[in-house]
C-alpha cells in the first residue's frame, strides 16, 4: 500500500477512491450509505425524467398528432378499388348494333409471377388448353407494348369446359388466372369499320394524353380506349365514369371486406345517323374496288353512309392485333387502314365545276352571260388546253357547260375569275379546310391560291403563282385536292341552297340508365349568303347532267329528280404512292367521281363517291351513286352482281356515251 500515491487520486477520483484510505469504519460506512442513497435518488430522477419524455412523446402522437395518424391508419386500411364502367353501345339510326360488349372468360398471365418462366408456363398450359401460335405472337407483342407487370390476356373466349379444366389445375400455374371480362365486339365486322373504328389497349402514349387531359384517374381499372372512328371521337361519352369500392385491405393488399361502393356510371350509348343497311349496300357495290362514298342528309348534316374501301376487321385490334395480320393490313398495296372518306385527298376533277359555276354567278363574271365558241381546246398564251371532248361542241354557254362538262368553258371561266376570286368564293364551300365532322383524322384538302403556294413551297421560284396554273384549276385539276367528305359536304350545301350544316355521324347520345337521349342538334353553322336564283341555276345545270348530260344514261328511268356531276381525276397526282410493278397498268387509270343529290326540289340525300382507278366518272362512280339513291329514296335493292344486264339503270355496265371526259390539265 502506498497511501501517498493513492491520495493523489483521492481528490480526482472522488468518493470511490476516497473509500480506499479507510477500511470499513462506521463513518465511511455511513458516508457510503448516504452516497449510495444519493445515487439511488439520481437514478430515480432519471427514470422519472425519461418516463416523462416517453409520456410527452405519447401525448404528441396520441393527442396533438392524433388526427394525422388516424388519417394515415385509415389510408393504410382502406384501398379504393376501381370498378370500370361498361362501355356504351353504338347503334345505327335504326337500332342495328354496331359495337357491343359481351362477357367472357379470358386466360391471363402475369409474366413476372410465373413459376418456371413464361415459355415453360405457356407450354404446359398448351397441354390443357390449346394455345395457337397466333395467340403466342399476339401475347409477345402485347408484352412489348406494356411496361407494367400487369396480367395480360393470352387466350380469349374460353369455353366452359376449358374454364373447368383450368380451374382444376390452376394450382400448377402461379401467375395464370381465368378472368371474367367484358369484351368489345363489332358484329358487323368489316362493314363500316372506318366509321365505327375500334378500341385497343391503352398504351404509353394514351396514358400521357389522359394525364395531360386530367382524365387519368377515370381510367383506373380500364384497359381499353377508343383508337379510331366514332370509338375514338366519342371516347368521353362511351367510356362513362369509373366507380370505386372502398375495400378494407391488410398489409399484403388482400381485400378483407367491402366497406362501401360507388357504382360506375355506364358509358353513353350512341345512335348514329348512318343507316347501316345503306352502308352495306354501298360497300357491296364497291365489292373489291377501292374508293369512298359519303352520303349526307342536307337538311341536318347527318351522315347517312360513310364508306371507305377496303376496310378491315376492327375485332382484330381490340386485344392487340397479331403481327402477321398487322403486317398484312399495314403493307397491303390497297391500304385498307387509310380512311379514304376523310383522309384521302384527290383532285376533284369535273365535280368541281358546279361550285365554280355558282361562284361565277355570284361574282357576276361576264362569261356567265355569254355563249363562247368551243373548238375543243382553249389557248392560253402559247399553251393549248385540250377538252376531253375531241373537237368540242362548237358553241357553249353557262347552262350546258355543267351538263356536258365542258372543259373549254371552265378553262376560260377560271382565267376570267382569277385565282384569288376562285379561292375566295370556293372557300365558302369549306374547300381547303376541315368540315369539322365528329370523326378523327380529317384532312383539309388543298384549295389552291397564291398564299397557299407561298406557304406550301420553300424555294422562292416555286412559291410564285403562274397565271397558267389557274387554267386547270377551273376543271378541278392542278393543285386542287379534296376529300370525298369535303365534296359530299359541298354538294349538301348546294342541295340546301347555301345552308351549311356541320357533318356529323352521331345523331343522339343516350344515357342507358335513364334512357334520356341528347340529340346532336342539326344546327346550321352558317349560310352562304348568295342569291337563291344562283343556286337554282347551278342545280338546274346539275339536273341536266342526269337528264341529258354525262350522267343521263346511268340515271335513266329514275323515279326521282336528281342533280349530279361526273368527274374524272387524273392519277398522276398520287405519284407519291408506292406502285407494284405488276398492277401498274390498273393503278394508273383515272379515278372516277360522282356527286349527286336528290330529289332536286326537296333534297333528302347528297353524296360524293370516288372509285379509285375506276376510269370515267360515269363509268364506275355514277352507277354506285344511282343504286345508293334508288335504295335510299325508293327502297329498291340493287341488282345482284352477275345479273348486270337486267337493270333499267344498267348500274354497272360500262358507259362510253355520250361524253367521256378526258381532262387534260397541263
Amino acid at each position: 500500500m502506498k497511501p501517498s500515491r493513492r491520495s493523489l487520486f483521492r481528490t480526482r477520483r472522488g468518493s470511490s477512491a476516497r473509500r480506499a484510505s479507510g477500511s470499513g469504519s462506521l463513518r465511511n460506512e455511513l458516508h457510503d450509505r448516504s452516497n449510495f442513497q444519493l445515487r439511488l435518488i439520481v437514478a430515480l430522477l432519471l427514470v422519472v425524467a425519461l418516463f416523462c419524455t416517453l409520456f410527452a412523446r405519447f401525448f404528441w402522437l396520441q393527442v396533438l398528432q392524433h388526427d394525422r395518424y388516424m388519417t394515415l391508419a385509415e389510408q393504410n386500411r382502406i384501398s379504393l378499388v376501381p370498378v370500370s364502367p361498361p362501355r356504351g353501345l353504338i347503334r345505327d339510326r335504326n337500332g342495328v348494333v354496331l359495337a357491343h360488349n359481351y362477357s367472357a372468360y379470358t386466360l391471363e398471365i402475369t409474366p413476372s409471377k410465373t413459376a418456371d418462366g413464361l415459355d415453360a408456363t405457356i407450354e404446359r398450359l398448351n397441354q390443357l388448353i390449346e394455345i395457337t401460335p397466333k395467340d403466342r405472337r399476339r401475347f409477345k407483342k402485347l408484352m412489348e407494348e406494356t411496361k407494367d407487370f400487369e396480367s395480360l390476356p393470352i387466350k380469349f373466349r374460353l369455353s366452359d369446359e376449358e374454364v373447368a379444366r383450368f380451374a382444376a389445375n390452376s394450382y400448377q400455374f402461379p401467375g395464370v388466372e381465368v378472368k371474367a371480362r367484358l369484351f368489345r365486339q363489332y358484329p358487323q365486322g368489316e362493314l363500316g369499320s372506318h366509321l365505327v373504328g375500334y378500341i385497343g389497349r391503352i398504351n404509353d402514349r394514351d396514358v400521357e394524353t389522359l394525364k395531360d387531359n386530367g382524365n387519368f384517374a377515370n381510367y383506373r381499372g380500364t384497359d381499353h380506349i377508343g383508337k379510331l372512328g366514332v370509338e375514338q371521337s366519342y371516347e368521353a361519352q362511351l367510356h362513362g365514369s369509373t366507380g370505386f369500392e372502398r375495400v378494407e385491405v391488410d398489409s399484403g393488399g388482400r381485400a378483407i371486406r367491402t366497406l362501401s361502393r360507388t357504382p360506375p356510371q355506364p358509358g353513353r350509348d350512341l345512335e348514329l345517323s348512318v343507316d347501316i343497311k345503306l352502308q352495306e349496300i354501298v360497300e357491296k357495290l364497291f365489292d373489291k374496288r377501292r374508293g369512298a362514298l359519303v352520303a349526307i342528309d342536307p337538311n341536318t348534316g347527318g351522315v347517312l353512309a360513310f364508306v371507305s374501301k377496303p376496310g378491315f376487321d376492327p375485332n382484330l385490334f381490340v386485344d392487340g392485333i397479331d403481327p402477321v395480320s398487322w403486317k398484312e393490313l399495314n403493307e397491303s398495296i390497297d391500304r385498307p387502314l387509310l380512311n379514304r372518306a376523310l383522309g384521302g385527298e384527290y383532285p376533284p376533277g369535273s365535280t368541281f365545276k358546279p361550285f365554280m359555276a355558282a361562284a361565277a354567278l355570284q361574282g357576276d363574271f361576264p362569261l356567265v352571260h355569254q355563249t363562247i365558241a368551243d373548238p375543243g381546246y382553249f389557248m392560253f398564251g402559247n399553251n393549248k388546253f385540250r377538252d376531253s371532248k375531241p373537237g368540242g361542241y362548237g358553241s357553249m354557254n353557262f347552262d350546258r357547260s355543267i351538263a356536258l362538262s365542258s372543259d373549254t368553258y371552265f378553262y376560260q371561266l377560271a382565267v376570267q375569275m382569277g385565282i384569288d376570286n376562285i379561292a375566295k368564293y370556293l372557300g365558302e364551300f369549306d374547300f381547303g379546310r376541315q368540315t369539322g365532322i365528329d370523326l378523327p383524322g380529317e384532312r383539309s384538302g388543298v384549295l389552291p391560291s397564291p398564299e397557299w403556294k407561298k406557304k406550301r413551297f420553300k424555294k422562292p421560284e416555286h412559291q410564285k403563282w403562274y397565271a397558267g396554273e389557274t387554267v386547270s384549276i377551273g376543271i378541278g385539276q392542278g393543285y386542287n385536292s379534296y376529300t370525298p367528305l369535303q365534296l359530299a359536304h359541298a354538294t349538301a350545301i348546294i342541295a340546301a341552297r347555301g345552308t351549311v350544316y356541320k357533318p356529323h355521324v352521331v345523331n343522339r347520345i343516350i344515357d342507358p340508365v335513364s334512357g334520356k337521349a341528347t340529340a346532336v342538334e342539326p344546327q346550321p353553322q352558317r349560310r352562304i349568303d348568295w342569291k337563291p336564283e344562283h343556286f337554282e341555276r347551278v342545280i338546274k345545270g346539275m339536273q341536266g347532267v342526269n337528264q341529258y348530260g354525262t350522267g343521263a344514261k346511268v340515271f335513266a328511268g329514275a323515279q326521282y329528280t336528281s342533280a349530279g356531276k361526273t368527274g374524272t381525276a387524273q392519277v398522276f397526282s398520287l405519284k407519291g404512292a408506292k406502285y407494284n410493278a405488276s398492277s401498274i397498268g390498273e393503278r394508273l387509270r383515272d379515278h372516277s367521281w360522282y356527286i349527286v343529290f336528290a330529289p332536286v326540289e326537296n333534297p333528302k340525300i347528297a353524296l360524293a363517291v370516288i372509285v379509285e382507278n375506276g376510269g370515267f366518272g360515269a363509268q364506275a362512280a355514277a352507277p354506285i351513286a344511282r343504286a345508293t339513291l334508288d335504295y335510299y329514296l325508293t327502297g329498291k335493292l340493287p341488282a345482284a352482281p352477275g345479273e348486270k344486264a337486267s337493270g333499267a339503270a344498267a348500274a354497272s355496265a360500262p358507259v362510253s356515251e355520250p361524253a367521256p371526259e378526258e381532262p387534260t390539265g397541263d
Binding site: R6, F9, R12, R13, G14, S15, S16, A17, R19, A20, S23, G24, D32, N35, F36, Q37, R39, L40, A43, L44, V47, V48, L50, F51, T53, L54, F55, R57, F58, F59, L61, Q62, V63, Q65, H66, R68, Y69, M70, L72, A73, E74, N76, R77, E248, V249, D250, S251, G252, I256
Partner: protein, 370 residues
C-alpha cells in the same frame, strides 16, 4: 401443516413486486390475445411461461445472498466460455450467431449473461469493498467488456447494449466518479454525433444497425424498407388517441400492418387499442416495479445486495424505456422486447430471475433485521 407450507412458499416472496408483476402479466395476456389475432395457443403458451418464470423467480428468491455470491463468478466464466464457443461453432439464425447446441436443445448464452454480468460485477465490488480504488473500476470495466464485445460480434446489438447498461449501473452505484460519468456521456454523445453525421457508421457497426439509426432519424427516407417498422408503429400509437380504438379493434394490428406485433412491437398494439390512458397505466406499473426495486436496493444489507438490486431495477427500466422509445420512434430499432409483455419465454424468464434476485436480497435484509 398447510399453514406451515404456505409460510415456506410465501416467505421469500416480496408481495409488492409479485403484485405489480402479476398486474403487468394480466395486461400482457390481454394484449397478446389481440396481437396474436386471438390465437388461444399463443396466449396459453404465454401463461404457461408466466408460471414457469414465477416458479423460477421463487426458486431464486430462496437462494441466500451468500450462495449467490459464491456462484456469481463461476456462472460468469461458464457464460464467457460458451460465448466463445458460440463464436467458434455456433448456429447461425437470421444472420446472427447466437445459439449454442448443447445436445438436447439450443441455448443462447447471451441470455445467461444478462444475469451473470451484474451479479459478478456486484460480487467483484463487494469482494474488494474494503480496498476499493480506481483500479477496481478498470477491472470491472474489463469484466463487463469481454462478454459485451463477444455478444456485439454475434452480432446482437440489443443484448450487448442491455448487458453493458446493467454492468454500467453496477459501476454507477458502486460510486463511479460523476466527472467520469459526465465525461463518458459527453464522449458517447459526440461519438453518436460523429457516427451519424460522418457516415463512419459502416466501419464501426454492422450495416443494418447503421440503417436502423439512420432510419430512426428519418423514417420516411425508406418507408417500405427499414423505416416501415417505425412508421407503422407510430401510426398505430398515434391513431390510438386518448382512449384507444378498443380491445381487438386496432386496424393497424389486425390488418397486419405492425410487424413483429406479438414480440418487439407489441407496444404498438397496446398503444393503438388502449390509447394514452393505457400507456399511462403501463408506465405507472413499470414505475412501481422500478421504485420497488430501488427501495430494495436502498434497504439491502450488503454492498452486493445494494449494487445488484439497483442494477436490476435500472436494467428493467432500460428495457422498458428502450422498447417504448423505439416503437414510438424516438430511439433506433434495436431488438429489445417490452419487459414482461412481449411474447417470448426467454426474456420473461430472465427478467423474473432478476426479480428473484431482488426478492432474495430483500429477504436477507429482513432476516438480518430480525
Amino acid at each position: 401443516m398447510i399453514k406451515q407450507l404456505w409460510f415456506y412458499i410465501r416467505r421469500p416472496v416480496d408481495p409488492w413486486l409479485l403484485l405489480f408483476t402479476c398486474l403487468i402479466f394480466a395486461l400482457s395476456a390481454v394484449v397478446l390475445h389481440s396481437a396474436s389475432n386471438q390465437d388461444a395457443d399463443k396466449v396459453l403458451n404465454k401463461i404457461v411461461f408466466m408460471g414457469i418464470a414465477i416458479f423460477g423467480m421463487w426458486v431464486i428468491a430462496n437462494i441466500s445472498q451468500a450462495t449467490l455470491m459464491r456462484i456469481a463468478l463461476p456462472g460468469y466464466v461458464a457464460g464467457v466460455i460458451m460465448l466463445i464457443l458460440v463464436e467458434l461453432v455456433g448456429k447461425t439464425v437470421n444472420g446472427s450467431q447466437r445459439w449454442l447446441n448443447i445436445g438436447i436443445t439450443h441455448i443462447q448464452p447471451s441470455e445467461l449473461m444478462r444475469i451473470a454480468v451484474p451479479m459478478t460485477l456486484a460480487w467483484f465490488f463487494h469482494h474488494f469493498e474494503s480496498t476499493l480504488n480506481w483500479k477496481h473500476f478498470v477491472g470491472a470495466a474489463v469484466l463487463l467488456g469481454i462478454p459485451a464485445v463477444l455478444i456485439l460480434k454475434q452480432p446482437d446489438l440489443g443484448t450487448a447494449l442491455m448487458i453493458s447498461a446493467s454492468g454500467f449501473y453496477v459501476l454507477y452505484f458502486a460510486g463511479l466518479s460523476w466527472k467520469l460519468i459526465g465525461l463518458m456521456s459527453a464522449a458517447g454523445g459526440s461519438l453518436v454525433y460523429v457516427v451519424l453525421h460522418w457516415n463512419w457508421c459502416i466501419n464501426i457497426l454492422h450495416e443494418y444497425q447503421c440503417r436502423r439509426i439512420a432510419t430512426m432519424l428519418d423514417p420516411m427516407a425508406d418507408p417500405l424498407g427499414a423505416g416501415y417498422h417505425i412508421i407503422q408503429g407510430t401510426i398505430a400509437i398515434g391513431s390510438g388517441g386518448i382512449t384507444g380504438k378498443g380491445w381487438l379493434n386496432g386496424t393497424q394490428t389486425h390488418l397486419d400492418f405492425i410487424p413483429e406485433r406479438t414480440t418487439d412491437f407489441i407496444f404498438a398494439v397496446y398503444g393503438e387499442e388502449f390509447g394514452l390512458l393505457g400507456n399511462l397505466l403501463l408506465l405507472a406499473l413499470y414505475l412501481l416495479v422500478i421504485v420497488r426495486g430501488l427501495m430494495i436496493a436502498n434497504s439491502a444489507s450488503t454492498l452486493f445486495g445494494r449494487l445488484l438490486a439497483g442494477a436490476i431495477a435500472m436494467t428493467f427500466f432500460t428495457y422498458a424505456f428502450v422498447n417504448m422509445g423505439m416503437v414510438s420512434g424516438i430511439l433506433p430499432v434495436v431488438g429489445v422486447p417490452l419487459p414482461l409483455v412481449s411474447y417470448g419465454g426467454t426474456s420473461m424468464v430472465s427478467i423474473l430471475a432478476g426479480f428473484g434476485l431482488l426478492m432474495s436480497i430483500q429477504q436477507d435484509r429482513t432476516l438480518i433485521k430480525r
